[in-house]
């Protein structure tokens, strides 16, 4: 296996995730795109870990998974709050900070 196979897969997933973050209006779908980005990072971490014959990448991948779980929990709580206040999860309606 080449190292580049995994790195390119990670790059493709990352860009698809970025596209989703930019394009989507629904807050839940934006959170899903962020999950795609975090997973591509994990693939890179583990590929470099195998290449350098070390365990550090595994540790960081586990930390990234834990942070992603926390992020989804808080993010979905915020989405629920937004839905309760506005009856909508469209991110373009949160425009009160515009002057």
């Amino acid at each position: 296996m080449l190292l580049n196979e995994f790195l390119m897969l990670g790059a493709v997933l990352f860009c698809i995730g970025v596209y989703g973050v930019i394009v989507r209006k629904n807050a839940v779908l934006v959170l899903m795109s962020i999950e795609l980005i975090l997973n591509s990072v994990n693939i890179n971490l583990l590929a470099f870990s195998l290449r350098n014959n070390s365990v550090d990448g595994h540790t960081f991948a586990l930390y990234v998974i834990a942070v992603a779980a926390a992020e989804v929990g808080v993010g979905l709580a915020m989405v629920l709050l937004m839905y309760r206040n506005r009856r909508s999860v469209g991110l373009d309606e949160l425009s009160e900070m515009k002057g």
Partner: protein, 170 residues
Amino acid sequence: MFASDVLVAQNVGFAIIAAIMVIGALRVVTTKNVVHAALWLVVVLAGAAAQYVLLAAEFVAITQIMVYIGAVMVLFLFGTMLTRARIGAEQDLNNKNWFIGLPIAVLLLATMLIALNDGFKAEKLPVDAPVVTTQQVSDQIFGAYLLPFWALSFVLLAAAIGAIVLARRD
């Protein structure tokens, strides 16, 4: 792109799983149904777990399945269910000026692929690397990386309390 001389089976496995992952990821960002997007995300996450197994990372793969497919996806489906009662296609999931995202993503991808091609042209991964055991991972977490582990515990605690405070109805 593929290493043709060694380990045909692993290369074929990688290619099949990678194709499934890319198709699933594209469906996540293009489908018109929020529940379908969540289910396609399950495909991508399971494919990522399979790639971790190919990368000799069994503990991370199992953690991926348990945390992501087990817990995070349930959270996503709950979030979908609690915010949108409707099951089915919806029209207004995308921004008005969604077409801006396409050139940005393509430019980013081209830049990254060129950089990767320059940096790691045909560098091979070690073929007979031993599988990283759970014991090695735990030695790292509770040894050299103990301080980030503590910080992470506080992050999780704060996130749990914050989620409860935010979602509580009063």
